[in-house]
Amino acid sequence: MRQPWLRILGELPPRRRACLALVSFLGPLALWSIVSYVPFIWHPMIRVADAGDAAWFSTGELVEREAFADENARIRGEGGHLATGARANPVFLPPPHAVLRAMVTGFTAPPARPEEPWLHQALWHSITVIFWGFAVSSLIGVPLGILCGALPSVARLTEPFVEFFRYLPAPAFGALAVAVLGIHDAPKVAIIFVGTFFQEVLVIANSTRRIDPALLEAAQTLGASRRALLYRVIVPGIITDVFNDMRVLLGWAWTYLIVAELIGVSSGITFFINQQAKYRAYDKVFASIILIGLIGLATDVALAWLGRRLFPWLPSARARRRLWLFGTRRSAAPPEAPELKATVSA
């Protein structure tokens, strides 16, 4: 049976899934390519090839088309040598191939000034800051969130304040963090902590509350103590949801990273991007931004893969729902295994 392309809910055939995922990337790339390579779409500038008798042009300069036309009109009136040039896009919109080249040379070509970091050094610096900020906030936030979800008294003791604190924007603590923790990486880690910790507690507490109460009752009738309920029912029962919550929160951590890296001594990928923008090397700016996206995507795919390995009890469809890009259809277990003949060894 042919499935309609716009079916409501449910699963898509695997080839169609892959195809649509590819299009979701190729579409924006195609748009970018068209704007970059087809001259009559946009190209509001002229790159001067021969300055001719123009008063203020220099070869290779980008000039607005109207200004270029006005100048040439003036030269023509004076019977001089006309300037020539090709239509071009502004410097802040590099074409795809230039960005791709910048991505490669970013790793192979030394930085403009020796004291500046290489692209990979900048990225690695950012990753370590994120790692520590997120690790510290998770080490405290996950257990606290689970306790809040499981124990109403802990929730009441914690959540009102957490609820208040999460509305305080993390960057607002920048100056304070520098004053307390110095100008290097510690305040940046602190900003990421502040940005993710309070969300984490609330999100994980809510995930914990969604556990099926029937499982808790079943465990109680099997003789589970409160301690066993917590460690042997609640924690394993919500661990998959917590894992997925943390994948979402890791995205938040990257958002706070850019602010955090501006605090104190600017560092990491943010410093790199700002430096390149100063040099008007927008191809490198684009390359860095895209690299952040690729790192985030790769992390997410890796975590989804890890989740399937860690939680083999998940029906494959549920694990795949989050793994939206590279999910492959694994041979699912038969949903309804045939009923065994009732035999009791007596």
Binding site: D212, A214, L215, E217, A218, A219, Q220, T221, L222, G223, A224, S225, A228, R232, V233, P236, G237, I239, F311, P312, W313, P315, A333, P334, E336, A337, P338, E339, L340, K341, A342, T343, V344, S345, A346
Partner: protein, 309 residues
């Protein structure tokens, strides 16, 4: 306390009543009643506050004694508090008044001496069949892991799931899940197994299989069963005695001794004693009601001649 019939009066006659018991059945009931009482429920009442704040009496002074290795079914119209009774005995809810004694000791909260099988399976999805069954012994009896595993294997074999010991619950059919749930409850060696409409979600064929299956398990395992159901045939097929509850408030209507001899087969459901019991249950639970026969004020909405009578 027993509201059952006086068995000494059973007359040998053809016009069957559910009170007529063959000598073998009568003798069996006499022996059953000499067994020690496992569960005793005295004047048990439960009030609820419903969503509008009104006080609802769910159970009204229930009395019941269950003897060792007896299989008692609780039946009644929906809303009669059957499940409430099960939850009270399991210790999941607290009664408003009255006493519940298990082996003479008052019931206070849930415990491993009362196993429970729910309608909604409630297997732990993150544990394999084997680990699900080991859960009870591990958390309550502090069996060493290896001993619990040995015992679990016996229970897995007993419910015929050896091939699925390392499967996860989502890989099992409904009937298989419920067998795991029974094995998991029994692995704790409970004094009484409370089953709250355990086969209600299964299709008719699987349900019949599971019923036959439960009887086999019950014969082979030292366990007393309190079985909640709304299926009359299920009650007649499974039960030694059937506790019939009235609805709103849940009161004991009658405690019926099922005169069908054991061991039972499905074919016996057609026997006169089973039919008489079933009919009596039917009358208790669904009293003959006047079906309104007035005509609905409907105009004809089909083509003339296209009649379905």
């Amino acid at each position: 306390m027993s509201a059952g019939p006086d068995t000494s009066l059973a007359p040998p006659l053809a016009a069957r009543s559910y009170r007529d018991q063959s000598p073998a059945v009568a003798e069996r009931f006499a022996r059953l009643k000499e067994r020690p009482v496992i569960l005793e429920v005295r004047e048990l009442s439960k009030h609820f506050r419903d969503s509008t704040g009104a006080d609802v009496l769910a159970l009204d002074r229930i009395n019941l004694s269950v003897h060792r290795r007896e299989l008692v079914c609780v039946i009644g119209p929906s809303g009669c508090g059957k499940s409430t009774l099960a939850r009270l005995i399991a210790g999941l809810d607290a009664p408003s008044s009255g006493d519940m004694l298990l082996d003479g000791k008052a019931i206070d909260g849930p415990g491993p001496d009362r196993g429970m099988v729910f309608q909604g399976y409630t297997l732990f999805p993150w544990l394999t069949v084997r680990r699900n069954i080991m859960f009870g012994p591990e958390v309550s009896r502090r069996l060493s892991s290896s001993l619990a595993e040995q015992e679990a294997q016996q229970w897995i074999d007993l419910v015929g799931l050896s091939r699925f010991a390392d499967s996860y619950p989502h890989q099992l059919s409904g009937g298989m899940k419920q067998r795991v749930a029974i094995a998991r409850a029994l692995a704790n060696r409970p004094r009484i197994l409370i089953m709250d409409e355990p086969f209600g979600a299964l299709d008719a064929l699987t349900r019949a299989q599971m019923q036959a299956y439960l009887l086999q398990i019950w014969r082979n395992v030292d366990v007393t069963i309190l079985f909640i159901t709304h299926d009359l045939d299920e009650a007649v097929y499974l039960a030694d005695r059937v506790l019939v509850l009235d609805a709103c408030p849940g009161r004991v209507r009658e405690l019926i001794e099922v005169p069908v001899p054991r061991p039972r087969t499905r074919e016996q459901l057609g026997s006169p004693e089973a039919a008489a019991t079933r009919q009596h249950l039917e009358e208790l639970i669904h009293p003959p009601i006047q079906v309104p026969t007035e005509k609905l004020p409907l105009g004809r909405m089909t083509v003339v001649g296209d009649d379905v009578e």
